[in-house]
């Protein structure tokens, strides 16, 4: 298991989402001894000349090595990219593993991810908007750069209860219509929607120039299907129930899931979408830091970004 920067016991004791988010972000920042990058929604835009007082950590040492000239990297943040975070609050996000003690529903995990990301973005003085959806956008917190915006976001998130089916594809289409300005769209969802609809939404957003990040949230049970004995599965979104011996269907289920995940990942790769599969048994800080670190590496090496 990846090393967590946070003490899960402490995290569990914090009930306020905003505090949790703060704890998470500052935790992995301090643990990593540096900020993963300059703001979540930051990407390299251009160089400018060094002036006294600039933070040396933005110095482009390569250029200096080449030219012995001091240049500061200028990032998109400075160009005020807006990060819109969409959180799936459909019924399927209510799944809580019956096997793991103290496990939280996927939604709770998603809320912490959204709050943490919002905290990180606001900490970088970037604008962040948060939308909550199921079949459609249920609630939307418009963008703001103010640090107290996190309170509104967390308040909105806190009162969200999972309901209805997942309509990720339709929501992405709706966001594409809503958010005209190019930015970063982060979708936190279990993607239990029709694959074609999801891909269609992604393509719409990409077509509009957005950078799309897909945080595919799945519970460990959904990934491993560890059930024993006779189990009656009741659908959270679909009004179906199935009584079966899980061991008898495990292999086929995992094959079906793998097929789906492979299709999603492949589609994301083809469409230049950052795809991150997160298991809910992974500590949030580890999950986010891992992603953000890889994203920074990509950016610093001239990786893909919005508009590229």
């Amino acid at each position: 298991m990846a090393k967590t920067y946070l003490d899960p016991k402490i995290l569990a004791k914090i009930s306020r989402l905003d505090l949790k988010a703060k704890y998470v972000v500052e935790g992995f920042i301090s643990g990593m001894h540096k900020s993963p990058y300059k703001g979540f929604s930051v990407e390299f835009a251009q160089h400018r000349g060094y002036v006294a007082g600039d933070d040396l950590k933005h110095l482009d040492w390569r250029v200096y090595a080449k030219n012995e000239r001091l240049y500061i990297k200028q990032y998109e943040a400075e160009t005020n990219l807006v990060t819109t975070i969409l959180m799936d609050a459909s019924s399927s996000m209510a799944y809580t593993s019956p096997n793991a003690k103290g496990a939280s529903a996927k939604l709770e995990y998603a809320k912490l991810v959204v709050a943490s990301l919002s905290y990180l973005v606001l900490g970088q003085s970037d604008a962040v908007a948060v939308g909550v959806f199921d079949q459609e956008i249920k609630d939307f917190v418009p963008r703001s750069t103010r640090k107290v915006h996190i309170n509104r976001i967390c308040a909105t998130l806190a009162k969200i209860e999972p309901q209805n089916k997942t309509g990720v594809g339709a929501v992405m289409h709706a966001i594409a219509e809503r958010v005209k300005r190019r930015g970063i769209i982060v979708v936190v969802s279990d993607l239990f929607d029709t694959l074609e609809d999801v891909l269609s939404g992604i393509q719409h957003l990409r077509h509009d120039g957005h950078e799309v990040v897909l945080l595919h949230l799945l519970d460990r049970d959904e990934l491993t299907f560890p059930f024993e004995g006779l189990v009656q599965f009741k659908g959270l979104e679909i009004a179906n129930q199935v009584l079966c011996h899980p061991r008898m269907v495990k292999k086929t289920y995992l094959e079906e899931l793998h097929k789906f995940l492979t299709a999603v990942k492949g589609a994301c790769t083809r469409n230049g979408v950052d795809y991150v599969q997160i298991s809910t048994d992974t500590p949030v800080d580890i999950a986010l830091s891992a992603y953000l670190t890889s994203r920074e590496r990509m950016m610093l090496s001239g990786g893909r970004g919005a508009g590229r």
Partner: protein
Amino acid sequence: MSFLNAFLAGFAALAAIPIIIHLLNQRRFKVVSWAAMEFLLATIEKNSRRLQLRDIILMALRAAAIAFLALALARPTIAPGGLSLIGQQGETAAVVLLDNSLSMGYQVGNETRFALAKRKAKEIIEHLPPGSGVALVLVSDIPVDDIPEPSHDIAFAVSEVGKAPLSDGGTDIAGGIARAWKILKTAPAVSKEIYLITDNQANGWPSADNAAWSKLSDEIAAAKPAPKLFVTHVGDGATDNVSVDSLVAEDEQVTTESDVGFIATVHSHGTAPAHGVSVELQVGDGKAGPMRTVASQVLDSVDGVQQVRLETRFTEGGDHRVAVTTGIDHLPADNSRYLALSVIDRVRVLIIDGSPAESGQGFGGESDFLKAALSPRDLDAEEHKALIDTEVTSLAGLADKTLRDFSAVILANLGELPPGLVEGLKTYVKAEGHGLIIFLGDNVQPGRYNQLLYDQAGLLPGRLSEHMIEADEEAGAGKEHGFGFATSNLSHPVVSFFADKETQPFLAQPRFRKAFTVEIPAADLIASPAAPGATAPAPGASAPAPAPTPAPGTAPAAGSGSVAVVARFQGLQPAIIERSTGRGKVLLFASSASRSWGDFPLRPAFLMLARRMVAEVAGAHQPDKTMLVHDRIVETFGAKEAGAAVTVRDPRGGSSQITALLTQSGELSQVEDSDTHFAGFYQLTRPGAEAIHIFAVNPPRAESELEALDEASLRARFPKLDFQWLDGHAALTGVIDQKRSGREIWPLLFALTCLCLMAESFLALRWAPRGA
């Protein structure tokens, strides 16, 4: 289906356990609210039917294994007919052995044992399970197949039981059971049953140490399935019975010349003597007319065996029926004894004299002595009718004679043997069944006789040797001249008259000066009178040549030849030799009827021997006509009668036809009949022929002994014999049902249990989900 451990069959209900467990498990499950339902539904859609089927198969195998095990422990049996639902027919093969021996005719009240046995047989047959096959065998001293293979036609079987006749034969239960086993051995049936319905006569069962019976009963017991034996006892415990055990004529040769005595043996069986037993002697002629009582006696008390003598005189020659009968008792079939008798009336004898001139000169030739001995009274005197009517001729006068007009021909010192005479004698003896007597003498040329009468015609009993038996010329004082007859082993009918000590000296009287040595091949002999006890050669007689011994390397084939030595000389050389050839007989006298060879013709023995020899050959063509039930009747005819239909009438009025078949030699034809089931007189007739051939058939004596075995005795005698005793005087069906159990099928069920368990283990392992 029935169960031998029925209470264990209830455990088959435990087969419901896997089902109950399955159902309970269906109720015990965790509930999980599941988000990734689409994937699960897709999975279920792919696997549901397969998974359901697997569940059902495994559950069924587990339930079946428990059920089969429980049923196997309960030891179920399939009752005969119980598998008819699944198409298996003929489950039980049964053989009914119906004892129809003489003793079954014992009557108590209004019903004989046999009638009771038939009633029980019908009851048993009608109670057989549906689809059964039944065979019917009538058991006496031979088993007779009435229905030789199991028949499913029950009505037909019942009908055959009704028609089954009571025989007069003995009892051989082992033979019946062997026959039943032979039928059942190859019968395809789940269950096999033998029903023996009998009065269980003790002498009808084999002895305890009978090897053949032990082997049979072991074979039956080891069979899979072993047939069940049901012994149905229809006896009544009665042992009192009066029977006539035997009937013989005092004289082997019965003639019209004198009275003849008959000795009947009356036997009172049982514990108490029989009183007031009437014994009647009945005779009938050779036709089919009624018998008449000619003599009778009443015995005041018969305790055990008692002989009775009854006398009569026959006035006509030919075949006669003779019977002795006692009064009616509970078992009438053994109250009579029968005898088929040939009575000799006038016998015409032709003497061919080889020395007619000598005969004409007073009384001295062979033919003179022979005629005097055979026909002692004047032929022309009406009031003196001789039994034997003789004519004398020479070879020259033979042309005027027809041989078949005579019952016997005597060759007296014949020197010449014309070919016509030899051929004529061959037909006369062999084909027509008449008799030939040969007296030798000075005219006889051994070589001619051997060539013509032995080699060519096959009439002479032995070859005449050139070496003669001669007595010494000189005799010492007080010693008799010549040699005589041996006076031991006088069993042959010709010489049996001299077996008595009063008459034996007459045989010792004649003195012979010479005789021919007759060489008889050992293989031709029927029996040879033994040497021990033979008298020493007479003083003055030279040591006679020893009797011919068998050739080295050969042994006398007792019973296989046709030649018998009737009498011997003191030196044991054959004196009178008999040969049965074709239908007739030849008697050879090794010496002469002339005084020139000794004083034999002057002795009284000559008279008796001559008459006896004539009587012996004159009745030669008559076969043995008194026999036991199930013995074979054999009658011979001439070759030209081959193909003729001979009608056989049995004592109960039934008749059948048998065709006369040519014998292997081609000289004769013959009929044989083994269907002699009844005691009494059988009559054989041919179309166009007047003669009626009479045969007397008697029941076996042992059948009159009614002592029976009860169940305990039977089990004591045969401890290893597995049988069920049924009381024939009570209802049988209930007892049979109790004892009749079907075939056990627990091995099959146990095998099915193992099969189900193995299949369940294999499939469960194969279908177990692997770690993904």
